[in-house]
């Protein structure tokens, strides 16, 4: 058995994987097909309930809710992915560098991450929105900014642990450059933790994106987004509660899927479980 193939499937991994696969498939499908044109306004058909018009009814402009949800899935991912990856890339670079060089660089990196952490995410997102104009870019940046310290800390934490291990000392004794050690010896061993963190942060990013577009800071209309669907739905709560329920469930299932996937991956990849059997001591 190879190290990389020692992934034990578990319930969380399977359920999370399936939910996430459905989310991604829906998002991709929306690029080529939706039941209706999601931006097509049909005033005469406004606020129809589920099955009265379309599977899940129509919104206040008579747009098909299913189509909106499908494109919303794409938009949600289109913001969450780049934001988390950007934050992960920068954060991991900072974190592993801090772990490799320690000292002053480490201290500064951690203080700065304290500062970013101290800002409530939504507030800094609003400020970034005010800065670069509310739109997808602002949302991506805001979520990325918040992810940088998260990944910096996670990467630093696990990298510091790895740096204390003897195989790093061995690598140094072989004359390897710290950068090369970071790349060849540290990265592969913290990758599992980072991948798990990526899925968790993706889930958080979807939640944050929904919150931002709820406040009117995410994807631009008429491009649909789950958060804005919720904020639109709020005024029609008593007339058309389905408008508030459907996007919420979409968000919850996506987040649930990614979280379960993260948990499942963590269990499957956990180095503390690996190679350890319940042998008598």
């Amino acid at each position: 058995m190879r190290g990389s193939s020692r992934i034990r499937p578990n319930a969380a991994l399977v359920v999370g994987g399936v939910l996430t696969a459905i989310l991604i498939a829906t998002a991709l499908l929306s690029l080529v097909w939706t039941p209706e044109v999601p931006t097509r306004v049909h005033i005469a058909l406004r606020l129809k309930g589920p099955l009265e018009a379309g599977l899940l009814g129509t919104d206040h402009f008579g747009r098909d809710v299913v189509s909106l949800l499908m494109v919303g899935a794409w938009n949600s991912l289109a913001i969450a992915w780049p934001a988390v990856l950007l934050g992960a890339a920068i954060g991991t670079a900072i974190g592993t560098a801090a772990a490799a060089w320690k000292g002053i660089a480490d201290e500064i990196a951690m203080r700065v991450s304290d500062v970013v952490f101290a800002f409530p995410a939504v507030l800094s997102a609003v400020m970034i929105g005010a800065l670069v104009g509310s739109g997808p870019l602002a949302a991506v940046l805001a979520i990325a900014v918040f992810n940088v310290p998260v990944f910096a800390r996670v990467a630093r934490g696990v990298a510091l642990q790895v740096w204390t291990l003897d195989y790093i000392a061995a690598a140094r004794a072989l004359g390897k450059h710290p950068l090369r050690i970071t790349w060849e010896d540290v990265m592969p061993n913290i990758a599992g933790a980072l991948i798990v963190q990526v899925t968790i942060q993706l889930a958080l990013a979807i939640l944050t994106e929904a919150g931002l577009s709820y406040l009117g800071l995410g994807v631009r209309p008429p491009n649909p987004s789950w958060g804005r669907m919720l904020s639109d739905a709020q005024t029609y709560l008593s007339q058309a509660p389905h408008l508030a329920i459907a996007p919420g469930i979409a968000i919850a299932l996506s987040v649930l899927g990614l979280n379960l996937l993260g948990d499942g991956l963590r269990d499957a990849l956990d180095p503390t479980l690996r190679g350890r059997s319940a042998a008598a001591a």
Binding site: R46, P222, T235, S238
Partner: protein, 493 residues
């Protein structure tokens, strides 16, 4: 069954009991909280909706029909050349702090408003003033540099209320005026409370003892507050989609009136392709105002074809000048050289009516081959910076809520970048015209010019969706000026 009936009857008696004693308190709901309580130093409408006619009074007032009526000035004379206004003031008027109101206060208030350091939002009201004289405590003589046709109307606005020199500086947080109510408290983010002014000069008109303005921005919460009886009246309900419920409910009176808010999609007339009137007309032809109102405001609001409030006597309906006609729109676009399509953007503020309208306009324009990209632009911060100041936009959308502001299309450097010498001249003439009839005729002409030239896409008049307890009387159905005048509001029974 009978037991339950009995219980219900008992309950009814109990709950009706207090209603027999004439109720003297009123809770008025407003969607937006005023940022201060001095209408003479800041622009927001919400300030006027709390203070105007309730806390502060001007020399004259605008009544519910948009007509000028005497108030602190019991009468006035205008010289034939339209340059000298002589006001006779009411006797026995006192400010809330006990000081007496006289002509010196009028002079102080107007001098303060037109001072270079003043931050009055409507300084142009006072711009024509040459001098203010106070021959005696009950007389004020104002001399103008040039005739100002709407001078009296302007004096009825919130920006021209009379404040006392002793208290002017602190009015924003502790307002002192001459009105029928005095300021009691302000819980920021929640409510402003007023009580009856025991020394009011026309005390008999006032029935209410306590008035509370509560600020509830969320539409659901507004509705809930009304239904729960936490709020007695919502003169301007934020949620048109929920208004219909109240129309059917006998416990409430629900009136869809007009505001002074012309909702228009302003275009950057100096910029290609909007410098071409064919394009502007084409866009106007592409818009189905009825559907727009249905989608953006649940069908409430009057379509407009020009920039004038239906509240005003000089209003003419110009919606037929450029009606909804997508085919014509396509033809005009083709003629202007945009037969293959046109790609433009709209900077839309976050207010529901604006963002929804933008989405609908975008959908309608796409039917005639125009791609309208929506750029959310927060109001006021970003909108004022980008659109209003820097004129960096193609199309935008806002409601212009100031009364009688058709002259903005004559202003240089206004965000429309609209230049029409003929219209400008007409506005100048109106300013000089003191005769009301003549002035109204000219206003009608101005409306037609705009309707044909389409410097902005004229969409609809923002409705005033008033909902209040059916037992209330005296609230305004329209709002010719932004106001919640509660002087004569009363409970029946």
């Amino acid at each position: 069954m009978s037991k339950r009936f009995l219980a219900a009857a008992l309950l009814l008696t109990v709950s009706f009991a207090p209603a027999y004693a004439a109720k003297t308190s009123l809770v008025v709901g407003m969607p937006i909280e005023p940022p201060g309580l001095d209408p003479t130093i800041a622009a927001p409408v919400a300030i006027r909706e709390v203070t105007w006619a309730n806390l502060y009074e001007g020399l004259v007032r605008i009544d519910r029909n948009g007509k000028v009526q005497p108030l602190l000035a019991k009468s006035w004379e205008v010289s034939p050349d339209g340059l000298t206004y002589t006001f006779k003031l009411q006797d026995g008027v006192k400010f809330h702090d006990g000081t007496t109101f006289d002509s010196a206060d009028v002079k102080f208030a107007f001098d303060r408003a037109r001072d270079p350091k003043s931050t009055n939002a409507q300084k142009q009201i006072f711009a024509p003033i040459e001098s203010i004289e106070t021959p005696d405590p009950q007389t004020v003589v104002i001399k103008l540099k040039h005739p100002s046709g709407n001078f009296l109307t302007y004096l009825g606005w919130g920006d021209a209320v009379i404040v006392a020199p002793e208290t002017a500086a602190t009015n924003a947080s502790n307002p002192v005026g001459t009105g029928p109510f005095t300021f009691k408290s302000w819980t920021r983010g929640d409510r402003v409370e007023l009580t009856k002014n025991p020394d009011y000069w026309q005390k008999d008109k006032v029935q209410l003892e306590n008035v509370t303005f509560r600020f509830i921005s969320d539409a659901q919460a507004q509705v809930a507050a009304l239904k729960a009886g936490d709020v007695d009246a919502f003169p301007n309900l934020g949620a048109p989609e929920l208004f219909a419920e109240f129309q059917k409910d006998p416990r409430f009176k629900a009136v869809a009136g007009n505001t002074e808010g012309e909702t228009v999609a302003g275009m950057n007339n100096a910029k290609k392709p909007f410098d071409d009137v064919r394009v502007r007309r084409a866009l106007m032809h592409a818009i189905d105002r009825k559907a727009l109102i249905e989608g953006a405001y649940s069908g409430f609001g009057q379509p407009i074809g020009s920039f004038f409030s239906p509240n005003h006597p000089a209003f003419v309906d110009t919606t037929d000048v450029i009606p909804y006609d997508p085919e014509k729109a396509k033809a005009l676009l083709k003629e202007a050289g945009y037969g293959d399509g046109l790609s433009i953007s709209i900077k839309a503020p976050q207010m529901a009516y604006a963002s929804r309208s933008a989405e609908l306009i975008s959908a309608m324009l796409s039917e005639v081959g125009v791609d309208l990209q929506i750029i959310p632009t927060e109001f006021p911060a970003k909108w004022i910076e980008e659109v209003f100041k820097n004129k960096n936009y193609d199309v935008t959308i806002v409601s212009h809520t100031e009364p009688l502001d058709i002259d903005i299309f004559a202003r240089d450097n206004y965000y429309f970048n609209y230049q029409n010498p003929k219209f400008k001249e007409l506005m100048a003439e109106i300013a000089r015209t003191t005769d009301e009839k003549e002035r109204h005729a000219k206003y009608a002409e101005a409306q037609k010019i705009l309707a044909e030239d389409v410097p902005a896409l004229f969409l609809f008049q923002l409705p005033k969706l008033g909902v209040w307890n059916a037992k209330l009387e005296g609230l305004w159905e329209n709002s010719p000026v932004p106001a919640n005048d509660i002087t004569e509001v009363r409970w029946t029974e």
